[in-house]
């Protein structure tokens, strides 16, 4: 039981994202940027965005140090947000937040839910939810207050 929860949390997809994070690094000429910080563990993440004039995520990158969960979550986020409209991105984020807290995420589109389901194991580890949400909150901060 316990082991299952751990294997679920640290499944291969997550470990792969954490070891080989996608869209990792700084971004020249980002239109938006924000830094996120988890005072509990000292983890830091910076999210860079190039938002199109209509708010669509033209490009996205992140860099930072952190645990496997926070790194994997940031990496998956960049994969999934790229190309989304502002409205789609918001919906994705809300669905993700529901998912990791073990709440109803059925309003997520089917294929998004399938991709994000690997993060669902975190709901069994309430102390770690903040690790998973750090990058997403930082993304939102970048959009709302991070115009460069």
């Amino acid at each position: 039981m316990t082991d299952n929860a751990l294997r679920e949390l640290y499944q291969e997809v997550i470990l792969d994202h954490s070891r080989h994070p996608r869209h990792y690094g700084t971004m020249d000429h980002a239109s938006h940027k924000a830094e996120g910080y988890n005072p509990l563990c000292g983890d830091k993440v910076t999210v860079y965005l190039k938002l199109d004039t209509d708010g669509r995520v033209g490009d996205i990158a992140f860099e930072g140090k952190g645990c496997a969960i926070s790194q994997a979550s940031a990496s998956m986020m960049t994969d999934m947000l790229k190309g989304r409209t502002a409205k789609e991105a918001e919906k994705l984020m809300q669905g993700f937040l529901h998912l990791v807290k073990g709440e109803d995420a059925s309003d997520l589109p089917e294929d998004d839910r399938e991709r994000l389901e690997v993060m669902g194991g975190i709901s069994e580890f309430p102390m770690r939810v903040k690790c998973a949400t750090l990058a997403w909150h930082t993304y939102k901060n970048a959009v709302e207050e991070g115009a460069t």
């Binding site: 039981m1 949390l9 470990l15 070891r19 563990c41 000292g42 983890d43 952190g66 496997a68």
Partner: protein
């Protein structure tokens, strides 16, 4: 793994364990292995029972009433002060100030003692291994009064470079603030030597005894320390109660900290006459029940042969250190000679929080993070570490569980 418990002549850890009911519980179906006493220690039954009994039979506010219970509670409260006095071997009971924790005690010294003495450019010497509670109050004086913080480095093994500390003291130094024992490295500082050298230059010393007082006997008179702070909850006592020892000579000149009831002699419309120490620094109704709990915890600890307890903890440390050597992917941070029973480490490819999560599911409670010591994390170029800290109730079996958990984490994460 086969690990017979080493029983020292006069301390039996298995017997002591029975005093701590929480240690017999399970988490996630596994026996609890509590290796986070450096953050907060568990409380023996006698502390919890005494607090409840006191609240049920002798409780009232202190120093206020003439009625029976107020007198009884005041007696217990002041008896607790004498218990702390004896525990630290201070010469006078009015040199013991009750605070809510060590953090408050250090803030008290910063505000009441040091702040009025600081001119812009005056210096405070501290080490890079201080806990934030022995850093931030001095940063306040940097921000507000122009004090300069002078940092003393540690060597790569985590030991304090006493010559570097000596060299950091100048004619502008107003205080040396140093830990007795690092909460991350386990390093025990040469307090007596530090104090002798500082005093030779006319500089007072504050020692943070949060960890140190738990693991070895403290004698503030022999040390000749100016200020020594402790917190109850790391000493097997309750939260919400700590103590400051301060030399009488310093207390006499110190301005009050908080203002309110208890700390005055006379309040008039246009002036106030303050009470003498310790009351001057204990405004408001104190945590009375917790103070009684603290005294009980100190009596409990003092009831053991402290040297035998220290030998037991040292055995755990040595055993853990040997066991961890088998992992070539693990780096222990802090190997100072004579260090106390704390082991911090980082593991290749495994973040401290992931490690702690997996250990937790094995029932093993360790601390992961920066341990409120970010200056030290920077010194060793790590963002966070995992830390196992040992108390009198830990055994070699606890070390074995840690080692097994680490192997398992390695299997899952890499």
């Amino acid at each position: 793994m086969n690990a017979p418990q080493k029983i020292t002549a006069s301390f039996d850890a298995e017997k002591a364990r029975a005093d701590f009911e929480i240690l017999s519980r399970t988490v996630y179906g596994k026996p609890l292995v509590y290796l986070d006493s450096g953050a907060s220690a568990q409380k023996p039954r006698v502390v919890l029972d005494t607090m409840r009994d006191f609240a049920q039979s002798e409780y009232a506010n202190v120093h206020r009433g003439v009625h029976f219970l107020s007198a009884a509670a005041t007696d217990r409260y002041e008896a607790a002060r004498r218990t702390v006095q004896a525990f630290l071997n201070s010469a006078r009971e009015d040199e013991i100030i009750f605070t809510k924790c060590a953090t408050e005690a250090i803030n008290l010294v910063s505000y009441s003692y040091l702040a009025p003495l600081i001119q812009p450019g005056d210096e405070i010497v501290l080490t890079v291994m201080e806990h934030h509670s022995n850093i931030v109050p001095w940063h306040f004086l940097r921000e507000r009064a122009g004090a300069v913080l002078k940092w003393v480095d540690v060597r790569d093994d985590g030991s304090l470079d006493i010559e570097a500390l000596d060299a950091a003291i100048t004619s502008r130094t107003k205080l040396v603030a140093v830990t007795h024992m690092s909460n991350v490295l386990g390093t025990v500082t040469p307090l007596k030597d530090i104090i002798t050298r500082a005093h030779a230059r006319g500089v007072p010393v504050l020692a943070d005894g949060c960890q140190g007082a738990v693991h070895e006997k403290v004698d503030v008179q022999a040390l000749d320390v100016d200020f020594y702070v402790v917190t109850g909850h790391k000493l097997y006592g309750p939260t919400g109660i700590g103590a400051l020892y301060a030399k009488r000579a310093h207390l006499k000149g110190m301005r009050p900290f908080n203002g309110g009831g208890e700390m005055i002699r006379e309040v008039m419309k246009d002036r106030i006459i303050y009470a003498d120490a310790p009351a001057r620094f204990e405004a408001g109704t104190p945590p009375i029940i917790e103070t009684v709990g603290l005294a009980t915890a100190l009596d409990y600890l003092s009831g053991f042969d402290r040297a035998a307890v220290a030998a037991h903890e040292h055995d755990l440390l040595t055993y853990a250190r040997e066991q961890l050597r088998q992992f070539n992917w693990l780096r222990v941070i802090g190997d100072a000679p004579g260090k106390g029973a704390i082991i911090s480490f980082e593991a290749d490819g495994m973040h401290a929080h992931d490690l702690a999560t997996i250990l937790d599911r094995e029932g093993v409670a360790v601390r992961a993070g920066h341990h409120c010591a970010q200056v030290l994390m920077e010194r060793f170029n790590v963002a966070s570490t995992s830390r196992a800290s040992f108390a009198l109730y830990n055994t070699r079996a606890d070390v074995d569980a840690l080692v097994a958990g680490l192997s398992k984490a390695r299997g899952i994460l890499t």
